[in-house]
Amino acid sequence: MHAFDYQAPTTLREALELLSKPQQSARPLAGGTDLIDQMRVGRLTPEVVIDIKKIAELNALRVDSGGLHLGAAVPCYRICSERAIIDDYSALVDSCRIIGGVQIQSRASLGGNLCNSGPAGDSIPSLIALQATCLIAGPQGTREVPVESFCTGPGKNVLRTGELLIELRMPRRAPHSGSHYRRMIPRNEMDIAVVGVGASVQLDATGKTIVAARLALGAVAPTPLYAESASQLLAGQPVSDALIAKAAQAAREIVKPISDMRGTAEYRVHVTGVLVQRALQAAIVRARGEACDYRPGH
């Protein structure tokens, strides 16, 4: 690994000062599970690594009337053990339980997963489905960006020099809502998604009609995608296999996957359709308050 300096500020102000020092490349370190590996192989060579885990705002996790506030450095395992998230933001827990193995989840954060901006990042489709907003602090103050606009290309995002992702905010869940994330990988665990699908639905009180839905797709384009037309065609429609198949078709139409060793473009398009159907079905089951027999990898 190249030589670098390490700083562990305890306040946001200090961190922002360090990040915006001129003539010095800096990189924030949360869980480090992507960053340390990328430094090891020489893909990233920051001069200073700023450990942001000691900053209170970045470790906050609370659910209130406004919804879910998730500090950017909160590790996955904390998210998985929070009752309110398990119940209302299930897709997020689905994601956090399959980012790496348990050891990785001890450290990896959703802020890190998002800032790594990999097309296959497992938390991003869930964040999109759950309508998350990114709170970003920088030298010019704070700004908010909808999560579907955060990534701009593989490994690239809207963060400018000196800016830091502070928090992810998700609106309060409507009654009769359910969400789910699932991915296709060859093994049961610990693979990078070949395709990932996040789905969120809100049903009416009878549980038979979809009021609103959000679908998001991972690993099928340079950035995770919000499947807008597929989401909108579901709204106001009675739940049926035909409707779900229609949404799957609409999702297939917007993906632009690459062919690589994990799968050809053709395979990814096909699996997008299959997973959209399965993810929607599971989200609907959850919205109805029924148990979903999903087990990661099965």
Binding site: H2, A3, P186, R187, M190, M261, Y267
Partner: protein, 744 residues
């Protein structure tokens, strides 16, 4: 003294042999105390890291190490001979320059500062594509064999006769199948990479080497370093995986010794994970086109195949001898083509060539069953023949038949089997059963052991063997404990140094046979000497004395006995030392034998919409002659089965056809099985008296051979058509589903 009759105690009188002794190295391994080659840290030691070639094929134009040498902490830069300017490099990852530094971080930084100029050359790695290989001039004939029941006439050309005769036989066949089958190359992927920690004690080299070959690697160092072998000691107590890839010091091991010499300091050099994938060994791929014909009962009578195989840049490919595998049809023609690529050279991989042979031919037999609409179990059974007229070239047909019956019961074949592609569907899921047969030699290798018995009753042995995890230490202690009527804890086993009496490398399942032979022989000879002394004292003929329960006793007269310690005290002041050697020969030893057979069955489910395969259950029934330690023998089988599941479903080396780069040389992309991927595994030892009485036979290789064919056959049974090439990745499964649309 009368000649000693070497023998094992029978099943009922064995106290230790055949038991479930807990492994003796378990304490060290479960507390982190066990020191592997890469755990050895010596005072003042340098850590070395190497630069590997980024190109799969190139010549080296120049190497500039000036910047690397300036990195703080870097002490020495060593350019390897094969990397000197003008030399050709034929595979990616080949080490070029080694940097030794005060810390690993400094060594890695040094490596990153090396500047090498390359002249790229044309690359070929597409071994799957035979036509492309031919066009690139990368193919060569690699043997073949024709055997026909009918002989050609005196005036007939042999090749023309074979063409005609095969045609005639196919016409005569009641059923004919044509097929294509394949299995991609995989790597060894040892969790502890190759490498060594070395130091010089004046003119003596001490090498802590991660090796399967303690007694044979000192010569390797000596030849390369041009020093006498008696100046070298190779040490190895623990090895973190070898699987056939760790028989030599390798050029990086001797380079470490050179750097240690040049700097006067100990040096540790281990391959990085990336280098381990690229250089640490791989198993050749194999792809086969075949036509086979069977009579109305399903007995295959004619086989005509052409296969190609690539060992990478160097080494042997899969030979014709394993085609078809285990089954031996009366008429066959088998041709082989070797494809040479710019991938690292192959190394022996657990049961060399057998897994590939099994996977690309027993699938064809299964397709014959599918064609006939009968169960593969019935077809395999019909093709076994009888012990008097075997249809197989492996273990006895009766052994396979008995094992098949056991395996079928354990997997519930009768209830669960359905004709190929005709099972019940559960949503998108279909399931299926498949099976395979295997065989392996596993005769013991040459081994010498010195047993030392101290006057205070202490027993120790010295043998230049190694324990690669299979349990050599425990096996040796059990053999001596049984021999002397003592507890296993009373025996001290010394191994893992090339200073000890020579024993063979741990390859080909030869170790347990070899060391149990040498330890039993030396033990029986030492015991005879002790008994001679005791005989006088008790007034009982030495031949009537036995060692049991910590005493030397008269057979059938419990009152006449002395305690072991008392007996040993008769040695006086000097310990007794006995050395015995086992040399494999044509004459059958009473203690060991060769050739085992095993049967494996798989039950899988397939998601027909994603192509994902899940293991439900895997049954392995295994013959291994006399079992010394049941617990450890089971572990070998479980371990072989997971390796088999991995290469059946997930594992493959993926190369970029354009650059020749090994694209998945990384644990996040090279898919081994994890805990959730293996389903239920059932292991059953087949040890009837008929097989036990043959003596000890090695077990490491056989159970890794069959999973490929068993799993592929199970998937074929589920879907109703073949997914031709292993590993059976979801994408390949979906392609097969698409290609067979209308059949599914």
């Amino acid at each position: 003294m009368a000649d000693i009759q070497y023998s094992w105690p029978d099943r009922d009188s064995s106290k230790v042999i055949g038991g479930r002794q807990i492994r003796l190295d378990g304490m060290a391994k479960s507390t982190g105390a066990a020191k592997y080659a890469y755990d050895i840290n010596l005072k003042n030691m340098l850590v070395a890291r190497a630069l590997g070639s980024p190109h799969a094929h190139c010549t080296i134009k120049s190497i500039d190490s000036a910047q690397a040498e300036k990195v703080p902490g870097v002490v020495h830069v060593h350019v390897l001979d094969h990397a000197k300017p003008g030399r050709e490099i034929r595979w990616q990852g080949e080490l070029l320059v080694i940097v030794a530094a005060e810390t690993e971080a400094a060594a890695m930084e040094g490596v990153s500062k090396l500047r090498v100029e390359y002249e790229p050359l044309e690359v070929f790695v597409d071994e799957f594509n035979l036509e492309a290989a031919k066009k690139a001039g990368r193919t060569s004939k690699d043997g073949g064999k024709v055997q026909l029941e009918k002989e050609p006439g005196d005036d007939e050309d042999e090749a023309t006769f074979a063409d005609k005769e095969l045609e005639r036989l196919f016409k005569q066949s009641a059923h004919v199948v044509e097929g294509f089958y394949g299995i991609d190359a995989i790597t060894h992927c040892c969790l502890e990479p190759h490498g060594a920690t070395v130091y010089w004690d004046n003119d003596q080299l001490i090498a802590y080497l991660s090796t399967q070959n303690v007694s044979g690697t000192d010569e390797g160092f000596a030849n390369d370093l041009k020093i006498p072998a008696d100046k070298i000691e190779v040490r190895c107590q623990y090895v973190g995986g070898g699987f056939g890839s760790k028989f030599a010091p390798d050029y990086w091991g001797t380079a470490a010794a050179r750097i240690a010499k040049a700097t006067g300091r100990p040096v540790k050099l281990m391959l990085s994970r990336d280098q381990e994938f690229k250089l640490g060994g791989n198993r050749p791929s194999a792809y086969l086109k075949v036509r086979l014909g069977a009579d109305k009962d399903g007995v295959v009578t004619v086989w005509d195949s052409d296969h190609w195989s690539s060992p990478g840049a160097d080494g042997p490919g899969v030979p014709q001898g394993v085609i078809p595998y285990v089954f031996a049809p009366k008429n066959y023609r088998r041709a082989v083509t070797k494809v040479t690529t710019n991938n690292g050279p192959a190394r022996a991989w657990r049961a060399p060539n057998h897994p590939q042979g099994c996977a690309i031919t027993q699938t064809a037999y299964d397709d014959m069953a599918a064609r006939m609409g009968i169960s593969s179990y019935d077809l395999f059974l019909k093709n076994l023949g009888t012990d008097d007229s075997p249809g197989v070239a492996g273990a006895k047909p009766s052994v396979y038949a008995a094992e098949m019956e056991i395996a079928a019961r354990l997997i519930d074949w009768k209830a669960k089997w359905h004709p190929h592609g005709k099972g019940a569907r559960r949503g998108d899921i279909v399931d299926g059963l498949g099976m395979s047969l295997h065989t392996w030699g596993g005769g013991g290798h040459e081994s010498t052991c010195t047993v030392k018995i101290h006057p205070d009753g202490g027993v120790e042995s010295f043998c230049g063997t190694q324990d690669i995890g299979s349990g050599t230490r425990t096996v040796c202690a059990m053999v001596l404990a049984e021999t002397f009527g003592l507890g296993v804890d009373a025996i001290r086993i010394n191994y893992g140094s090339s200073r000890f009496p020579v024993s063979g490398p741990s390859g080909g399942s030869t170790t347990v046979g070899g060391v149990s032979e040498s330890h039993r022989r030396a033990g029986q000879e030492a015991l005879a000497k002790i008994c001679e002394m005791v005989a006088e004292k008790l007034g009982v003929p030495a031949a009537e004395l036995i060692a049991d329960d910590g005493r030397i006793k008269a057979r059938g007269d419990a009152k006449k006995s002395v305690a072991w310690k008392e007996a040993c005290a008769m040695l006086g002041m000097k310990p007794l030392e006995v050395t015995a050697t086992f040399r494999p020969s044509r004459n059958k030893s009473p203690l060991s034998d060769t050739k085992v057979g095993g049967v494996q069955m798989a039950h899988v489910e397939v998601d027909t919409r994603t192509g994902l395969i899940r293991m439900r259950k895997f049954v392995a029934v295994q013959d291994m002659g006399l079992i010394i330690n049941r617990r450890l023998a089971e572990s070998q089988i479980y371990g072989a089965v997971i390796m088999g599941i991995a290469y059946s479903l997930f594992e493959q080396r993926i190369s970029d056809p354009a650059s020749g780069a090994f694209l998945n040389a990384d644990m996040s992309k090279y898919n081994l099985c994890r805990l959730g991927d293996i389903g239920e595994i059932v292991v059953e030892m087949y040890e009837p008296e008929s097989e036990r009485s043959r003596g000890v036979i090695g077990l490491g290789e056989p159970p890794v051979i069959g999973p490929g064919a068993a799993i592929s056959n199970a998937v074929c049974n589920a879907l109703g058509f073949r997914v031709p090439v292993l590993p059976l990745t979801p994408q390949r499964v979906l392609e097969a589903i698409k290609n067979n649309a209308g059949r599914a």
